[in-house]
């Protein structure tokens, strides 16, 4: 098992919302929708079909849920680690730092402000869709077997919840500040005075095999 650092970008939330997330965790949209989670439904929801819809049909009406768009009831949570393996870059010619991918999601393509949540997830190096504690890696590079258009983003998909203990901090990012920074030849950065540290965070260094995200 590997402990993988990841970043989750969330758009359209206030500072209070971000503080609340540090307390209760990052929940999947399905949990937000039903409010009280029916635990007995989790094994049914964590299916390969739903993972495929989460990756490829996120905004489509779902025939299994009265044509409600899939994102409203997805049991999965997208995060990014960037492309971690050097050889993967030499095969795809694409290498993007995790923060850049997450920022794009958090700011709706640099059009509004957002938060980046720095977390860690547990992965086991093979597909385990039905196992709730383990997250899924999208790293396959083969159009004929599990090819994904999103694979070089280094997406790691969490399930149901990223608990508070696994969230280190939330950074506020201003889209306009980020654009202005690169225009001045500087690497964009979050405003440190608006970064929220999580007192419930448990350091992964207490465990083995911590693998960093790409920065």
């Amino acid at each position: 098992m590997i402990i993988q650092r990841v970043i989750r970008g969330i758009t359209g939330i206030s500072e209070n919302d971000a503080r609340r997330i540090l307390t209760v965790g990052i929940l999947c949209n399905w949990w937000y929708k039903v409010r009280t989670l029916p635990r007995d439904e989790i094994p049914v929801r964590l299916s390969e079909r739903n993972l495929d819809w989460h990756q490829n049909r996120y905004d489509d009406p779902d025939p299994l849920e009265n044509r409600e768009v899939f994102r409203r009831h997805t049991p999965f949570i997208s995060t990014t680690a960037g492309t971690v393996e050097r050889d993967m870059f030499r095969l795809t010619n694409i290498l993007t730092p995790a923060w850049q991918v997450a920022l794009n999601f958090a700011t709706r393509g640099l059009r509004q402000d957002g938060y980046l949540f720095y977390c860690y997830l547990f992965i086991i190096g093979r597909q385990a869709v039905t196992l709730e504690p383990f997250s899924e890696e999208l790293r396959e590079l083969n159009i004929y077997r599990g090819f994904s258009l999103y694979q070089p983003q280094g997406e790691i998909t969490a399930k149901i919840i990223i608990p508070p203990a696994q969230i280190e901090r939330a950074e506020f990012w201003s889209a306009s500040d980020a654009l202005q920074a690169v225009a001045r030849g500087l690497l964009p950065a979050a405003d440190p005075s608006r970064t929220l540290l999580n007192s419930l965070f448990v350091r992964p260094e207490n465990f083995n095999n911590v693998r960093d995200f790409l920065s």
Binding site: R57, D59, R90, L95, G109, I143, L149, V182, L187
Partner: protein, 279 residues
């Protein structure tokens, strides 16, 4: 191309903002790479720069800004060449500055390779880009005597070991690239249409799959790009092969022969019209 963005369900403002951002980040990372002390870190920063320039260039084509696009592809080419990656030649083909190829090849072949490159099979597979580039740009046909022709066969034999290995954003097998190189180097060029088919078919499938996902598609939240440089560069090199050997063939006529979706055809035709000097 810009006028077609709404028909393609792409958001103009998002593309303009991301173009600015990627172009700026490319420059920032390039500057940071110059000051990086450790080899490993410098390589990562060059890779970030190359990726951002490549994406900004593809955005520029969507926006109809071919002048910026060629400049950005040149920047991408230089960054990939700094990484000794033959993919630099594909970016060069899109920049239109083929006269710089000996310089780019020189940088790729620099004798002092850092330790982190040693034994990388992925880097060896990258040679397939040089094979395709050489096939498209050599003035002689196979069987005739020249340095380029003499170098072709051994390179092809070495790459044969990776025939079924995937490479590029669409994960097409190295063997498909070898087939295309052979077709481009052939005196009659009669197999070019067949050799391009796997690339255009994969592109068409990827476009359809990507467009189905409206959330990611409209915001281009994916590494695959509608103006996919992996595919566009192969078409640009096919055009180069036609003009270098004075074959009276056109890549536009060739494109018409494939059963592509409206969006695939519109994007490829629009991009080639912007990039090819004779178009």
């Amino acid at each position: 191309m810009r006028e077609q963005l709404s028909d393609l369900r792409l958001d103009l403002e998002t593309i303009e903002l991301d173009r600015k951002f990627c172009q700026g980040l490319g420059s920032v990372y390039l500057k940071s790479a110059e000051h990086a002390e450790a080899d490993e870190r410098r390589h990562t920063l060059w890779a970030f720069a190359a990726t951002n320039f490549r994406r900004a260039a593809a955005h520029a084509i969507l926006l109809g800004d071919s002048r910026s696009a060629t400049k950005l592809f040149s920047e991408a080419s230089r960054a990939y060449a700094s990484l000794r990656m033959p993919y630099a030649l594909m970016m060069l083909a899109l920049s239109g500055h083929l006269e710089e190829s000996s310089d780019v090849i020189g940088r790729i072949h620099q004798s002092t390779r850092p330790e982190i490159d040693q034994g990388s099979q992925a880097l060896q597979k990258q040679s397939v880009y040089m094979l395709v580039f050489n096939a498209a740009t050599m003035r002689q046909n196979r069987g005739e005597d020249s340095t380029a022709v003499r170098a072709f066969e051994p390179m092809q034999r070495r790459l044969g070991a990776f025939d079924s290995s995937p490479i590029g954003i669409l994960g097409l097998p190295v063997g498909c690239y070898i087939d295309l190189a052979n077709a481009l180097a052939d005196s009659r060029g009669s197999n070019i249409e067949e050799a391009l088919f796997p690339f255009l078919s994969a592109y068409n499938t990827a476009m359809r799959q990507a467009a189905l996902n409206s959330f990611h598609w409209s915001r281009l939240l994916m590494p695959f790009h509608p103006v996919e440089p992996d595919i566009l560069s192969l078409l640009a090199l096919t055009h180069v092969a036609f003009t270098t050997r004075k074959r009276r063939r056109s890549v536009f006529v060739l494109l018409k022969k494939y059963p592509l979706s409206w969006s695939s055809r519109a994007i490829l035709h629009g991009a080639l019209t912007q990039l090819l000097p004779a178009a």
